[in-house]
Each structure stands twice: as structure tokens, then as C-alpha cells.
């Protein structure tokens, strides 16, 4: 198929693909005003999420810390696959990053967040291709969603970061990231 044929098909398809309904600005504005008067906020969950994630980060830190080995005996770490250890560490660091984000008050921190997210993103992508992720739909799905959120954090820009952070926090909430991390981390720690 040449470019011209493809353009024709796209043009034909665009006529029917998700054709937006008519937009009545005045009516939408009226609804918007009502909503602003009600002062709808979604921030109620933040303290709960923060407390839950602190507990999780602590638990993950314990779970991923190499145990003392008996002299001459194998270490716990040696019994676990490298991707599993890497995943546990990634989840622990991610939850700390994601829960620090809403609390951050100075914009100077954005570059640090973006840099850390970039590092975690690389690990996440490595793990997405690992056999562990291929064999565990829950882990794969979690890593998929984590990848998207970390990519957003890695793109944080100075100056507009407060709004961006709010959007990222919404994504974390909508995707239930923290509870899902807790579930998957518990399975990893249990060796499932």
C-alpha cells in the first residue's frame, strides 16, 4: 500500500473514529462552575496512602536485606534469583519515591525526582523483559503501570511541577499502585 492509499484510508477512517459529540461551552462551563463551588477535592486519600507506603517501604527493606548466613552456608540472597532481588529493591525504592512526591514542597527537588525515576525506569524496563515478568501477570501488569508513572516523573519540569506532580499522584491512585506493590512485594518476600 503506498502513502497515498494509506492517507485515503486514514481520512476515511477519521470520519467515523470516535467522532466527538457536539460541545456546548456554556453548559459545560455552568457544570464546571458548580463543581468549583462544591470545591471537589481528591486529596483525602493522601495521608492514608503515605502511612501505608511508609509501612510497606519498611517491610520491603527488611525483606530485601541479606540475612546473616551460617559460616560456610549459602546466603539467602544466593537462593533468590537476581531479577527477584532486583524487583524487590525496585518496588521498595519506587514506593519511597512515589510517596515522597506529593510531600515535596520545593521545586528544586524535581530534578532529583526526575533523575531517580530515570534510574528506576531503566530497571523497570529490564524487569519487564525478564522471565519472572513473563510468567507473572500480576508482576508484569504492575511493572507496566509503574513504567508509565516513572516515565511521567522522569519528565518533571521545573516551573510547572506542582500540577504535574498532582497528575502523577492521581495516576498512582487510579492505578492502585501502592496496594498492588504491597501485594506483589509480599509474594516476592514469601518466595512465591
Amino acid at each position: 500500500m503506498n502513502d497515498s492509499s494509506l492517507d485515503q484510508l486514514i481520512s476515511a477512517g477519521a470520519r467515523d473514529y470516535r467522532v466527538p459529540p457536539p460541545f456546548d461551552a456554556a453548559s459545560h462551563w455552568h457544570q464546571l462552575e458548580q463543581r468549583r463551588r462544591r470545591g471537589v477535592t481528591r486529596a483525602w486519600w493522601r495521608p492514608l496512602a503515605f502511612a501505608a507506603s511508609l509501612a510497606l517501604a519498611f517491610a520491603l527493606g527488611r525483606a530485601t536485606r541479606p540475612a546473616a548466613s551460617p559460616p560456610g552456608g549459602p546466603s539467602v540472597a544466593a537462593n533468590t534469583g537476581a531479577p527477584v532481588t532486583m524487583a524487590a529493591a525496585l518496588l521498595g525504592e519506587s514506593v519511597i519515591l512515589l510517596t515522597s512526591l506529593p510531600e515535596a514542597s520545593t521545586e528544586g527537588q524535581d530534578q532529583r525526582f526526575a533523575r531517580e525515576a530515570g534510574d528506576l525506569l531503566a530497571t523497570t524496563r529490564l524487569l519487564l523483559d525478564s522471565p519472572e515478568a513473563q510468567h507473572s501477570p500480576a508482576l508484569a501488569s504492575l511493572l507496566d503501570d509503574l513504567e508509565l508513572v516513572l516515565a511521567q516523573v522522569a519528565r518533571l519540569r521545573e516551573g510547572e511541577s506542582r500540577t504535574e506532580r498532582e497528575l502523577i499522584n492521581d495516576a498512582v491512585q487510579q492505578q492502585d499502585l501502592v496496594p498492588r506493590i504491597r501485594t506483589v512485594a509480599a509474594r516476592l518476600a514469601a518466595g512465591d
Binding site: M1, N2, S5, L6, Q8, L9, I10, A12, G13, A14, D16, Y17, R18, P20, P21, F23, A25, A26, S27, H28, W29, H30, Q31, L32, E33, R35, R36, V40, P137, A140, S141, D144, D145, L148, Q152, R155, R157, G159, E160, S161, R162, T163, E164, E166, L167, D170, A171, Q174, Q175
Partner: protein, 193 residues
């Protein structure tokens, strides 16, 4: 503000910078003017990206509630339109991406489509086109919808999505390649015997 009051608003033409300054000072008329200026295009884009009218309305409201409450954060480094688009697109992608990925994992893309025998006027075409667009990767679909269906330039897309212009062009190239493959049976030349 009542709808009657809204109807009496005088909606000034751009410059938008002046509107933003006034909106920042709490001028509702300026806010409404900004809304009139940007909401229709954002509404179209959000609907094209999510395909759900009720969700589109919610996301549009969410976008402007945030934008107006965060005007103090807006420093004018980018155009107000770009900034508010960025909020809308991020909200939309947050709302849709997980669902899209899960759906794709549950229902893998059909690659066993029927043998070529029809054209774009085939009654199956709209459904097949939608299926093909939905089968693009999230990044490719966003760029394709914005550029090919809604007419955004690569510069605008790059600003809104926070990617480089080259990445935007690359995603469009790959999206077209994938669509070429998925819609091959509808190509005019394949209908020849």
C-alpha cells in the same frame, strides 16, 4: 454564575496572555474566555483519545478546575493552551492507559483478519479502522490521533506530551507502518483481481 450571566459575557479575542493575567487575578470573565478559547479543541482531543462521552466531560472539567486553581504555578514559559492541553492529555492517559493495557493482554490483537476483498467503503472498515488504531502502542496512538486525526503539529505534540519533535515523528512513522499492515486488506490496489 448562572447560564444567563454566562450568555452576557463578552468574549474577547486573544491575546491570551492578557486573559491569563486577568484570570490569575480572579477575573471570571477572563476565565470563561480562556475556556471558550481552548475547551472545544481539548474536548475533541480527549474524546478521540478516550472514546467515552461521560469520561470526556469529567476529564475536561478536571482539566480546567486544575488549570484555574494552579494558574499561580503557570509561569508563561509555554503557551497557556499548551499547558492546559498537557494537563488534559496527562489526565486522559492516566485514566485510559492501564485499562488499555489490561484489555490488550486479555484480548490479543487479531492478526487473522479475512482475506483482502474490500475497500474503505466496506461496512467493516470503520470497525477495522478503530480496531487497528486501538492496536497501536499507547505512544503511537497518542501521536497518531493528535497529528493525523486532530491536526496538531509535531511541535505542539512534543510540547504537550513532553517528548522531542523527533520522537513524535518517529512514533507517527511507526503508527503509519502498523496501520498499513493492519489495514492492507482495505487498500484500493489490493481489491484488484
Amino acid at each position: 454564575m448562572t447560564q444567563a450571566a454566562i450568555a452576557h459575557f463578552h468574549v474577547p479575542d486573544p491575546p491570551a496572555d492578557d486573559l491569563v493575567d486577568r484570570a490569575r487575578r480572579g477575573d471570571r470573565e477572563a476565565e470563561y474566555a480562556l475556556y471558550r478559547l481552548h475547551a472545544p479543541r481539548i474536548h475533541r482531543l480527549v474524546y478521540r483519545l478516550c472514546g467515552d462521552a461521560a469520561l470526556t466531560d469529567d476529564l475536561l472539567q478536571d482539566t480546567f478546575v486544575r488549570a484555574f486553581s494552579r494558574l499561580g504555578d503557570f509561569r508563561g514559559d509555554a503557551a497557556f493552551g499548551t499547558w492546559v492541553h498537557r494537563i488534559a492529555v496527562n489526565l486522559t492517559l492516566n485514566a485510559r492507559r492501564s485499562a488499555d493495557r489490561r484489555e490488550r493482554r486479555i484480548a490479543p490483537l487479531r492478526t487473522d483478519l479475512a482475506a483482502p476483498e474490500s475497500t474503505a467503503f466496506d461496512p467493516d472498515f470503520p470497525g477495522a479502522f478503530a480496531e487497528a488504531v486501538d492496536a497501536l502502542s499507547p505512544g503511537q496512538r497518542e501521536v497518531f490521533v493528535m497529528h493525523a486525526l486532530e491536526g496538531y503539529t509535531h511541535v505542539e505534540i512534543a510540547d504537550i506530551l513532553g517528548i522531542s519533535e523527533g520522537t513524535s515523528k518517529g512514533r507517527l512513522f511507526h503508527a503509519r507502518a502498523r496501520l498499513r499492515e493492519l489495514l492492507a486488506r482495505f487498500a484500493p490496489e489490493t481489491s484488484h483481481e
